[in-house]
Amino acid sequence: MTGLQIAFLAIAAVTLASAVLVVSSRKIMHAALWLVLALGGIAALFATLEASFFAAVQVMVYIGAIAILIIFSVMLTRRVMEDTGPQNTRYWPAALVVSLGVFGGILFLFLQWPGFSVESRPGLEQGDLLVRFGQALVSPDEFVVPFEVASILLVAAMIGAMIIARDPSRK
């Protein structure tokens, strides 16, 4: 077992453990903080995949923006759900069964697929990769349309959020 494999297993274990705590911890604020740890672990996994750009973007977007927004709204709405009441619905065993079923299904499909045990990775030139990624996003032959659609989506989301979250009592 190489060092990289040990690192992967450690990161994956921490990430999964904190993901389980995200969905199971009683205090919603703690769940949000565990979410931060899980997202950080995923950023580390991106680094093991040699996608350093996405590792940094993961920390920047998910931890620096999304997790902080979530924590912020937890703090804003904290007085309603006192941390004493049940956090899960009555039907959580059914949810557990469904999740395990989905996992079993995915695993079944994966085990039948011959590419499952691929170990070798093609060579990669990091600096060159970033340049080509940037060019692919704006080149008309490749992904400029999805890129623009994504930017329109962001603008729409921004305007929508502003309209939704406006205080209705204020003009």
Binding site: V20, V22, A32, I42, L49, I70, Q87, V118, R121
Partner: protein, 102 residues
């Protein structure tokens, strides 16, 4: 080297944990957190497939970037809705947001 299968199993597990959160939580913000976990699992999967099967090309990375954008937009609108519902109904429990019920 890490086999591709490890990443796939990891992301499948993460996806199912997120799914469990979405299905079982009562707090709307917690449901959103479950959705985040699911989206991240998808991202791990996409990047792993890209790295092992597609690497010198960048197509897989573009997918990941689009997922990131979609996740950001989703969280912004989702939290906006939750805050707005909280203002009107004074609750963030998903079961109690039943104004449309006839």
């Amino acid at each position: 080297m890490i086999p591709l299968g490890w990443y796939l199993i990891f992301s499948a597990l993460l996806f199912c944990v997120g799914l469990f959160g979405v299905l079982s939580r009562r707090n709307a913000i917690a449901i959103l957190m479950g959705v985040e976990l699911m989206l991240n699992a998808v991202n791990v999967n996409l990047l792993a497939f890209w790295r092992y099967l597609w690497a010198p090309k960048v197509d897989g990375q573009v997918f990941v970037a689009i997922v990131l954008v979609a996740a950001a937009a989703e969280v912004v609108v989702g939290l906006g809705l939750i805050i707005s519902a909280y203002r009107r109904r004074n609750t963030v429990v998903a079961d109690e947001m039943d104004m449309l019920k006839g």
